[in-house]
């Protein structure tokens, strides 16, 4: 049933053949336009600096210079920054998934006074721009002595995991038949063990979606690290790249080599989660 929602042939079949051909042409042209910047990025990353701007554009560099990559990763402590990014992103993803799944489960399945108004508050915070709480949060973390550590970047994710994720998981949990819970309840399982044994195993597309969004968002986050990390050794990759740009701003080939490497983890996560991704988006767009 889930496969059916994204099977290759669904759309209006009555489309005329010429319209179909135009669609293919437009789609392929558009996809090429999306890919061209990536291609230029990779191609530039392999050129000697002196040939970056040579006209007409050389898509396949005449001289391939792989050393750009090794140099880019040693001119700045690249792998240190890469590791720092992981040190932040991994706990954030885990914290977000666990704490948003817990809250989502309570909102989807349980009854207790005050739960409904609380869920309304979750929805209300969806619209709240982060800037409104940014400065007092900064002052709070400064007061706690957390500025200069990763705590301000990690701890908030443990506290609810974000309104959007709670909402998304709750909607998904609602699509799971309640009889599955009831059966487990009769067997004497607690709520927590129902969440772990019944709900989570059936929700992997939604969980993969939340994990992917969270990883990509954290990996690419710039403002958070910019505010809280001052020591260069503690920089995450985005700060490191920006720093690289500020000191070597004419070394485009090296900059692009560093950027290509920075994109790879997100692409990898995206491709790994892709199946879940497509299904998850389709399923959560549907009312339970």
């Amino acid at each position: 049933m889930t496969a059916g929602t994204w099977a290759p042939v669904i759309g209006p079949r009555a489309t005329a053949p010429w319209a179909r051909r135009c669609s293919i042409l437009l789609l392929v042209l558009g996809a090429a336009a999306v890919l061209v910047p990536f291609a230029w990025m990779v191609s530039t990353s392999l050129k000697p600096e002196s040939q970056v701007f040579r006209q007409p554009i050389e898509w396949v560099p005449r001289t391939v210079r792989g050393a750009n990559y090794s140099e880019a990763t040693t001119q700045i402590p690249y792998w240190r920054y890469f590791l720092n990014s992981m040190i932040v992103a991994v706990p954030v993803v885990l914290g977000t998934v666990v704490s948003s799944a817990a809250a989502a489960y309570a909102f989807a399945r349980m009854r207790a006074p005050g739960l409904r108004p609380m869920f309304a508050l979750v929805l209300a915070t969806l619209m709240l721009p982060a800037e409104v709480t940014l400065l007092p949060s900064f002052l709070l973390f400064r007061e706690l002595g957390w500025v200069g550590t990763y705590l301000p970047l990690i701890v908030p994710s443990l506290l609810g995991g974000g309104a959007f994720n709670i909402f998304l998981l709750r909607q998904f949990f609602l699509t799971i038949p309640r009889e599955h819970d009831d059966a487990a309840r009769v067997e004497g399982h607690s709520f927590l063990s129902i969440l772990v044994r019944v709900i989570v195993p059936q929700s992997w597309p939604a969980i993969a979606l939340v994990a992917t969004f969270t990883f990509v968002g954290t990996w690419n986050d710039f403002l958070g690290p910019l505010l809280y990390l001052s020591d260069q050794d503690s920089y995450t990759l985005p700060l490191g790249l920006n720093f690289f740009k500020d000191i070597y701003n004419t070394q485009w080939a090296h900059l692009m080599a560093a950027s290509v490497l920075a994109l790879l983890p997100c692409l990898l996560v995206f491709f790994l989660a892709q199946r879940a991704f497509t299904e998850g988006v389709v399923l959560t767009g549907r009312k339970g």
Partner: protein
């Protein structure tokens, strides 16, 4: 029996509170608390450097922002310019893309992945890529213009072209919006189109009479999300143009950051944050208020 049920429901309530407690702590400590604090701060001249000297200034920050600080209006203006263009493109191009992707072609899965790629790789690395593309000397953007016989422009180094450059960059990521459209388009029953074809409607007629009205809920959702999201543009501006040239790409959040962390005026920056909130609230409320005239809902049918 009754007591046992009560005990059971009490246990359920306890378990539920346990599960939502992290969120409650976060909500109180990192949302409500900071909101109140931000409100109070915005009425003071609190500074990062010498916080103990902070004084109560009442509405002076708001007065300064709205009447005495030309950069506030400049940043609102360039942000609005960017948001309008970026949102229009996102709605139109996104919908067109979704319609094309929904035509039902073989191999469309690969194309879908390609279109979604830019959404996965935002941030500094991509900003650096676009900074290179926009190099006037011989970046990709001007090379493409040259291909069609146009003269190159200054892109992010030109007061005229800097905002269109950011818009172009945002159009590149339009696949994300197309995904939301696609989810809705795929639920339009095929027999509607077949009936319309029998009635003699052409492709375009079917788009106007069926696809467009049924897609309005997704258009509405994308509109609200896009306005809120694009209004908060920061990283691209910080990395690519640093607000320049002059203040021609001084996006609102960029200015807020500068006020707080370069001029250390936290009180004033808090007032700016509330102004941002008010603007977004007003725009969202307008969208909701007008929505019943143009958004089509299929009743409560599932």
């Amino acid at each position: 029996m009754a007591r046992r049920r009560l005990a059971a429901s009490g246990r359920e309530a306890l378990a539920a509170y346990g599960l939502v407690s992290p969120w409650v702590i976060g909500f109180v400590g990192l949302t409500v608390g900071p909101m109140i604090a931000s409100m109070v701060l915005s009425l003071t001249d609190y500074g990062l450097v010498n916080p103990d000297a902070a004084r109560w200034v009442g509405g002076a920050n708001y007065r300064e922002a709205l009447t005495g600080d030309p950069l506030v209006w400049q940043s609102l203006k360039v942000t609005a310019y960017y948001v309008v263009l970026a949102v229009v493109f996102e709605l139109v191009v996104g919908l067109a893309l979704a319609v094309l992707l929904n035509v039902g072609l073989r191999g469309v899965g690969i194309l879908r992945t390609v279109y979604y790629l830019p959404a996965v790789v935002s941030g500094v690395a991509v900003s650096l890529l676009w900074l290179l593309i926009f190099q006037p000397s011989s970046g990709l953007a001007n090379a493409v213009l040259g291909l069609f016989g146009f003269d190159g422009v200054g892109w992010v180094y030109s007061t005229t072209w800097v905002i269109p450059a950011f818009v172009l960059m945002s159009v590149w990521g339009v696949g994300r919006a197309a995904f939301i459209y696609l989810a809705i388009l795929q639920r339009i029953p095929t027999n509607l189109y077949e009936a319309a074809a029998v009635d003699g409607l052409g492709s375009f007629g079917r788009f106007l009479r069926i696809t467009l009205p049924l897609a309005t809920p997704a258009i509405f959702l994308n509109l609200v999300l896009a306005v809120i999201g694009k209004f908060q543009i920061f990283t691209e501006g910080f990395v690519i143009s640093k607000g320049g040239p002059g203040a021609s790409s001084l996006f609102f959040v960029l200015y807020l950051y500068r006020v707080a962390f370069r001029y250390f005026r936290v009180g004033y920056a808090s007032a700016l944050a509330w102004i941002l909130f008010a603007v977004l609230l007003a725009l969202t409320a307008t969208a909701f208020r007008t929505s019943r005239h143009w958004v089509y809902y299929e009743g409560e049918r599932q």
